[in-house]
Symmetry: C2
């Protein structure tokens, strides 16, 4: 039996499954949506990065005496549901999902990592490293918008849906994993409301920056 706090095991477990599924979904998108072999290879590279991150987390779970499968299991339904409800219809949607959808999910994990021990926090930070994902997506989406500006409305709606589904699944996870939820918000009393507000302000700001980077927000 591990003496690692439940919240930490939950964080490692949810993030491990998030990385494993991100790996598999990016590979699927690379196989089925990439418009060229070069793009297919490039998205495959990004998928492989997620796999490396998955291994870091799985190894840490094993190291602290937790069965990785058991740690991941509670989060399978919510994360699978997120992917099922945000299946990209084309290459541009896949890129926006890889950047905006993954981005806000990663921000949630980063918020949770603010309240764990420094060793876990460093590992989570490593597992959340971007490694070219954003740059690739931003570059390709901006180029596409330049060629065909009218696609921006559809992509902006798509991004909104990605975020809505992410929030809805985060809520679902928080409801059944109180120890993990407590890493995001100290549970129990009204004192937390300002901190919750600040957290959502940070998430919203980071999301807005990503949308702007893609060229999906109205100019000043």
């Amino acid at each position: 039996m591990s003496d690692t706090p439940t919240g930490v095991v939950d964080l490692l477990g949810v993030l491990a499954y998030a990385e494993l599924t991100a790996f598999l979904r990016l590979a699927e998108d690379a196989a089925s949506l990439a418009p060229s072999l070069t793009d297919r290879a490039a998205l495959s590279d990004l998928a492989a990065v997620e796999h490396r991150h998955f291994r870091l987390l799985r190894d840490r779970l094993a190291e602290v005496g937790v069965d990785p499968e058991e740690a991941m299991a509670p989060f399978v339904d919510a994360l699978d549901a997120w992917h099922a409800q945000t299946r990209p219809a084309d290459w541009l949607e896949a890129l926006v999902k890889a950047y905006v959808g993954t981005g806000i999910s990663m921000d949630f994990y980063r918020e949770a990592a603010r309240r764990v021990d420094p060793g876990t926090a460093a590992l989570v930070e490593e597992a959340l490293a971007d490694e070219g994902r954003s740059e690739f997506a931003v570059e390709r989406v901006r180029a596409a918008l330049k060629t065909d500006p009218k696609v921006s409305g559809r992509l902006a709606l798509w991004a909104r849906r990605l975020v809505g589904e992410a929030l809805s699944q985060a809520h679902r996870v928080a409801a059944v994993r109180p120890a993990l939820a407590a890493l995001l918000v100290e549970a129990g009393d009204g004192e937390d409301l300002p901190e919750i507000g600040r957290m959502f302000a940070r998430l919203t700001e980071a999301h807005g920056k990503r949308m702007a980077a893609l060229g999906l927000t109205p100019g000043p």
Copy 2:
């Protein structure tokens, strides 16, 4: 323009695309067929190995001044057709494909690498390294056959189909890429027949060993 011989560029190109698609197909099988999270993660690990091998080959192509996409392009149809015609229906078929189907394909590439410069040969050998793929498949298939011996007939037929489709696609590739075919058999005169015979004897023997390792051949 690269001064690398066409046969070598073809070998690097076909192998690069073979590794890229092996990566994507293993990821797909991991996502859709794995019976547990542990198996899904294990097959994902094997997929990631193929991706590493793909990078080796792509980097080498770039290094010798060849566009990887151009080098891979002539082989896309044949390899995609192979995968389309050998889509596993379940987890055991996926494992047999990962071992027997990939095994015989790799043997073909290994044969071709016998007639290239030592630097290319060493790189191809590195890209063909097994890294646990066989062990994983053999262990799982043998365990399944122990539980349910009557599945062996179906899997033996499946293996035969994998090999038949591989031969048929190899023939198709050889017909359009003579420089690559010449690496397998010195083209042009009847002198080669004994060597072709020996090559098929080697391929057949290696295939037989894999079938026996899986427990899919009748005992003595």
